[in-house]
Amino acid sequence: MLERYTTAASTYAHSIDHLFLLILVLVGFWLIVAEAVMFILIFKFRARDGRPTRHVTGEEKELHRWITIPHMLVILCDIAIIIPAIIVWYNIKQAQPPADQTVRVYAQQWAWSFQEPGPDGVLDTADDVRTVGELHVAINTTYHFELMSRDVVHSFAVPAFRLKQDALPGRTITGWFRPNRLGTYDIQCTQMCGIGHALMAGRVIVETRQDHAAWLMQNSNPPVAALPAAPSPLAASPMMAEARR
């Protein structure tokens, strides 16, 4: 259902979409039944001359049933929603699968900037790739992100990933995603952050692993080509070796 409106490009997007569909079916049923009953009663009991109204308190057993039974069914439906909702939440926000790669996301008025480990696969080394407005990721790779804000509250949202997490100054919030569809997707800021809020756009580019490795090679700082060929700690990294081949 949701996929008709927004592409699903991460592994957990479908679990959110399925939960949405489940809720839609359950509450849709209740909405239609309740509205239908209301309109039928309005029609059936419209004022007509000489027809008296029924004097009931609503506390008679055989009448109050009509409230008690739906009441119980609502509780059942609530449980049927609460359990999957918590499972989906747990899998996305609480349980973090082990990371293949970790990136840093910085929010500030009014731009996104990213720090990715360079070809050595380790953050905070000389070859880290720093970008503004564009996050390059490899498909089918589990990413952890460390989200920080440099000023006010922002929110890091990638609709195609069904990802949303506020960025708070003074805290580092860790989350994860695993892209599973190639393409370029919007990054939004979804928390009011000042007059540039609507300009705070970014893009996440999901590439094949090969393309991503090549992109890292090209953009690492200093560029890998400019490093001394050997002996370098970077050369030990398997990803680097793969890239060399």
Binding site: T6, A34, P52, I67, A85, T190, C193, G196
Partner: protein, 558 residues
């Protein structure tokens, strides 16, 4: 105890501006609230025009720059909740109905009541003045999250932000004064014979709402004072670099902010219940169940606030607790709606304008209720949080609350308030001209929300996925809906002011209702009751077998 003839007729100022009469104070709140609603509606017009027809000159405003856009959406939210829903639903209807419906001459503390309105008026003036200061009105969203709201360097509206905060704090002072007054009055001034379960449900709901308000406002006032210090005295309550925490504000704000939803919902549901009983000629179905459900809603409303903060950076385990409580609150609310629908069973339903509004409230509020489940479920909230799906959801609750139920109440009690009937034909035109466009505004916004439109964005040009033409068509459709809905409000304004002078004279009890306010002349004199009434039965005795009339007023002995 004052009576109708105690004083000589006072001058205009003393009668209308310095009065301690609950009815005059109610009118002051009503007219101030209606004036603020016009401003809030104008602001909606401005930002919807920008969204529907981006970067065009908005007639009557001009070009909507990002800064002005932020100010306009912030003030729209603030005004509609704090200066329209609160004063009209709680203060206007509360002040007007409580003494009349429980059978006393005035509020327990008439001077506190007057002070309450004066502080409220001051708060409205402070808020409106903030449009004129350097930098313009506050543009940091009505939730005012720090650090954005705490520093002029971030929000670029330093004076507007402070005035906004002062205005909100003053407004809270006004409603705390009013709330004390309501509660004390209903506890102490009921007519002899009116037991707890003989109180009309609207009075119960208004009082419960003020109790919820008084119990939840404290933390926010404390939070507002700290924010004011952060803004003006460079303290660091919400500044993480100096040991503060921006999340603290969010908790204080939403600890108030969510109960606030029920603070305005309950009076609205009360008004609707009164009208359903009168126009279905039926006793309310399960009065006690209704009352206990209302209590349950009130209590649960204090433990759901963090569902606004699922993705705000709170401990993710907390979301599970708040998902459960949030879905739990759907049970008493659903129960209330079922009881309302069941009240129609076996009735003799007349579709006069007030009844149309009351039924319209039920039909639309149900949509708002069920769409809340998507947002209260933490799993789906990850995606839907702060999208237009959320906007559409809460407008499907707030428009029925602050607009539809208010029109229900005004059209129902207008004869009592002003002694004249409103025009039925114009009333029905206004009803359909409001309710149909209302759906045209917000159904498209559910869809743009599902497509990922995030809120508080003046232009989607930077976002490739949101720049699809199909989404822009939906936004334009929504704007057209708003233009139609706003233009139909002229019908109401005309009907209101025309009926005020030229409407058919209203008798004391034009709707043949049972509650005490209909036993006094329309409009009621100063002091209300010539002889204070005694109550012999519950408020909804309609269609009793074996009686000539189909209604049996509360004050008529056996």
């Amino acid at each position: 105890m004052s009576t109708a003839v105690q004083h000589a007729e006072p001058g205009f100022f003393r009668k209308y501006c310095w009065s301690t009469d609950h009815k005059i104070i109610a009118m002051q709140y009503l007219f101030t609230g209606m004036a603020m609603a016009l401003i809030g509606g104008y602001l909606a017009y401005v930002f919807r025009m920008q969204l529907g027809f981006p970067n065009h000159n908005v007639p009557g405003f001009g070009i909507v720059t990002p800064g002005r856009y932020n100010a306009v959406v912030t003030m729209h939210g603030t005004i509609m909740i704090f200066w329209v829903a609160m004063p009209v639903l709680i203060a206007a209807f509360g002040n007007y109905l409580i003494p009349l419906m429980i059978g006393c001459d005035d509020m327990a503390f008439p001077r506190i009541n007057r002070l309450s309105y004066q502080v409220f008026l001051l708060s409205a003036i402070v808020l409106l003045l903030s449009f004129l200061v350097k930098g313009g009105a506050f543009g940091g969203a009505w939730t005012a999250y720090p650090p954005l709201s705490a520093s002029g360097a971030y929000n670029l509206t330093p004076l507007g932000a402070t005035l906004w905060l002062v205005a909100v704090a003053l407004e809270f002072v006004a409603f705390l004064l009013g709330g004390i007054n309501f509660t004390v009055t209903v506890m102490n001034s009921r007519a002899p014979g009116m037991k707890m379960f003989d109180i009309p449900i609207v009075i119960w709901m208004i009082v419960l709402a003020t109790v919820i308000f008084m119990a939840s406002a404290g933390p926010l006032i404390a939070g507002a004072v700290m924010l004011l210090f952060d803004q003006t005295m460079a303290t660091g309550f919400y500044d993480p670099t100096r040991g503060g925490d921006p999340l603290l504000w969010q908790h204080l704000f939403w600890f108030f902010g969510h109960p606030e939803v029920y603070v305005v919902l309950l009076p609205a549901m009360g008004i609707v219940a009164e009208i359903l009983a009168v126009f279905a000629r039926k006793k309310l179905f399960g009065y006690k169940s209704m009352l206990f459900s209302t209590w349950a809603v009130g209590i649960l409303s204090f433990v759901v606030w963090a569902h606004h903060q699922f993705v705000a950076g709170i401990d993710p385990r907390m979301a599970n607790v708040f998902t459960v409580t949030t879905l739990l609150i759907s049970i008493p609310v659903a129960e209330l709606v079922f009881l309302y629908i069941a009240t129609l069973y076996g009735g003799s339903i007349r579709l006069d304008t007030p009844m149309l509004w009351a039924l319209g409230f039920l039909a639309e509020f149900m949509i708002g209720g069920v769409t809340g489940i998507f947002l209260g479920s933490s799993g789906t909230d990850i995606y839907l949080h702060d999208t237009y799906f959320l906007i559409a959801h809460f407008h499907y609750t707030f428009v029925p609350i602050a607009i539809i139920s208010v029109f229900a109440g005004i059209t129902f009690w207008f004869p009592k308030m002003f002694g004249r009937m409103m025009n039925e034909t114009l009333g029905k035109i206004h009803f359909w001209g409001t309710v149909i466009p209302f759906n045209v505004i917000f159904i498209p916004l559910f869809m743009t929300g599902l497509a990922g439109d995030q809120r508080r964005i003046y232009s989607y040009a930077q976002f490739a996925e949101q720049s699809r033409p199909a989404l822009q068509h939906l936004r334009t459709l929504s704007t057209v809906g708003l233009l139609v809905m706003l233009s139909f409000q002229l019908v109401f304004l005309f009907n209101f002011f025309w009926s005020l002078r030229k409407g058919k004279r209203a008798e004391a009890n034009p709707w043949r209702s049972t509650t005490l306010e209909w036993t006094v002349p329309s409009p009621p004199p100063h002091g209300n009751f010539a002889v204070l009434p005694t109550v012999y039965r519950g408020p909804y005795e309609y269609g009793l077998p074996g009686r000539a009339d189909d209604y049996w007023p509360q004050n008529v002995p056996d």
